[in-house]
């Protein structure tokens, strides 16, 4: 069994719109990029985990990416795991490869996440809500006679995550629309330094607050940007890494913790998805595994699928005292020049959120800084970072990464 697992190579495509390229093209670019970055070859890869959520062009359907990718970059016959875990799909692919290496099945493996989401619109929407028509017949687990989206709450993501953030502000009596908009202002400002972000435009607080309201308090720029993209990572066992070249060893990033949790039962989770408890559980496990405390972190990439989500994850990841998320943000700590920079990539709101690519892209961003290769947006001297994603339903992935000594 391998004791430790490292990231040997990692890459992401620029996030954006690729009308002329299919999902497999994007996955191939990321996979070949990660293999080249790792300094290995396709024949060294002993396992492949491929994440895709939506299916779409280039694929026969969701869950088909792995073998479709092999047809384009190398049919080596190794085991392929097609994984899908909502917005935690990429992190799940990464962790699948890590587990195969830990189990001793192979020394080197490849994780890929790819998605085409440009123009996808609202996610989670159940579709048209017509009540009139044929005779009412109760169906499903609540015996409904008509669609419920818009009649009993909302099923769309901006509204669900808006309520998650509003519940936090009510629980602690702090925070409002403007606060959430300022979180978004930070991430859009950060994205101006990221050439791979889908959007790199700095927006003023006024522009953000006066943009189209999607689901109060989330305006359009406060929602994750639907876009296309892919990311990939090559993982290696610590034992195998020891026999590699000095340059490979120097650039390798240690995965000090890799944790995946699901949402445990909580009193109110059937009414409002509880994205807090599983994130806190994952963070606690990760800090223990890594022997790292939140104050040791030099940067964090967390799942800001909406501005309202970023706030609660400050607390869930224990970047502040319980109830202290508003104060943490207002202290300026989470800006890139602050004590604990959060989402220096621009986050999902500005870098973009091609679902299955997001988990590995967040890890890539952290690795980029730990390797000292982040150029204009480099967080100087970064040694330890955390990458977090959450998929509603729910799944939470947390990875703690450390620079080679």
């Amino acid at each position: 069994m391998a004791d430790d697992v490292w990231i040997l190579g990692i890459t992401m495509t620029k996030f954006g719109k690729y009308p002329d390229r299919d999902i497999v093209d994007l996955a191939a670019e990321a996979a070949r990029g990660a293999i080249a970055d790792a300094g290995v070859g396709m024949s060294d890869i002993g396992v492949l985990a491929a994440g895709n959520y939506m299916g779409g062009d280039g694929l026969l359907g969701p869950g088909r990416l792995g073998q479709a990718l092999q047809k384009q970059i190398g049919q080596t016959g190794v085991p392929v795991y097609n994984v899908m875990n909502a917005c935690a799909t990429g992190a799940t692919a990464l962790r699948t490869v890590l587990m195969a290496i830990k189990a001793g099945e192979t020394d080197i493996g490849l994780a890929v996440g790819a998605e085409k989401l440009s123009g996808a619109g609202l996610l989670g929407s159940g579709g048209a809500g017509k009540a009139d028509g044929a005779e009412f017949t109760p169906t499903g687990r609540v015996g409904q006679v008509a669609p419920l989206d818009g009649r009993i709450g909302t099923e769309t993501m901006p509204g669900v995550f808006a309520q998650v953030g509003m519940e936090y502000t009510h629980r602690y009596g702090k925070g409002d629309f403007e606060l959430f908009a300022r979180i978004s202002e930070k991430n859009h400002a950060h994205s101006t330094l990221n050439p791979l972000a889908a959007y790199t435009k700095r927006l003023t607080l006024d522009q953000i607050m006066n943009d189209v309201m999607v689901a109060y308090p989330n305006t359009r720029p406060m929602c994750s940007a639907n876009c296309d993209g892919a990311s990939a990572a090559v993982l290696v066992s610590g034992e195998r890494l020891k026999r590699m070249d000095p340059d490979q060893r120097r650039r390798a990033v240690k995965i000090s913790a890799s944790v995946l949790t699901s949402d445990p039962w909580t009193e109110t989770c059937q009414v409002l998805p509880d994205i807090n408890t599983l994130t806190r559980n994952a963070a606690e496990q990760a800090y223990t595994l890594a022997g790292v405390a939140p104050e040791d972190l030099d940067l964090v990439e967390l799942h800001d699928c909406f501005a309202t989500a970023e706030l609660v994850h400050y607390d869930n990841l224990m970047l502040c005292e319980p109830g202290g998320a508003v104060d943490l943000f207002e202290s300026g700590a989470t800006w890139r020049d602050g004590r604990l920079p959060v989402n220096v990539s621009g986050g999902l709101q500005s870098k973009g959120h091609p679902i299955a690519a997001t988990g590995i892209a967040n890890v890539w961003e952290v690795c980029h800084h730990l390797r000292g290769e982040a150029g204009d947006r480099q967080i100087e001297g970064a040694r330890v970072g955390l990458a977090h994603v959450i998929g509603l339903g729910s799944a939470c992935g947390v990875h703690i990464l450390e620079r080679a000594a």
Binding site: G129, M166, A215
Partner: protein
């Protein structure tokens, strides 16, 4: 008066409309949907219990963009009804942040959602300012 059916089976119509929860006989966890077993304690026996019709808004959003056919804006909220959280819209008041507020007191109210081909009305519920 037209025949009426509830929009969902956990809404009880009549003179005093109210919601029913399926309560786990073993641990008391409450669910509005039908469960195969309790997600908390794995027990498989449930009993129906009435849920308080008055409560306090714990969270809300005002949805301005929704799927085609869903009327907007609407205020989706989470209401604490004497310890049981309920999902529902805030109705009978404008859907804006001046009228829908965290911590506001609300009570259950019903309204006709639509009519089917035989003239039967579907009745839904929401919460109105108390």
């Amino acid at each position: 008066m037209a025949e009426q059916v509830p929009l969902v089976d956990y809404l009880v119509l009549g003179d005093a409309p109210h919601l029913l929860a399926h309560e786990c006989a073993q641990c008391g966890a409450r669910y509005f949907d039908h469960r195969n077993a309790c997600a908390r304690c794995f027990g498989a026996e449930f009993r129906d219990v009435p849920v308080a019709g008055e409560g306090e808004v714990q969270s809300f959003t005002i949805v301005s963009f929704a799927a085609p056919g869903v009327a907007v804006p609407f205020a989706a909220a989470v209401v604490d009804c004497d310890g049981t959280w309920v999902k529902g819209n805030i109705i009978n008041t404008p859907s804006d942040p001046d009228h829908v507020r965290l911590g506001m007191k609300v009570r259950l109210a019903t309204y006709v959602v639509g009519t089917d081909s035989s003239g039967t009305e579907a009745v839904g519920f929401g919460f109105e300012p108390a």
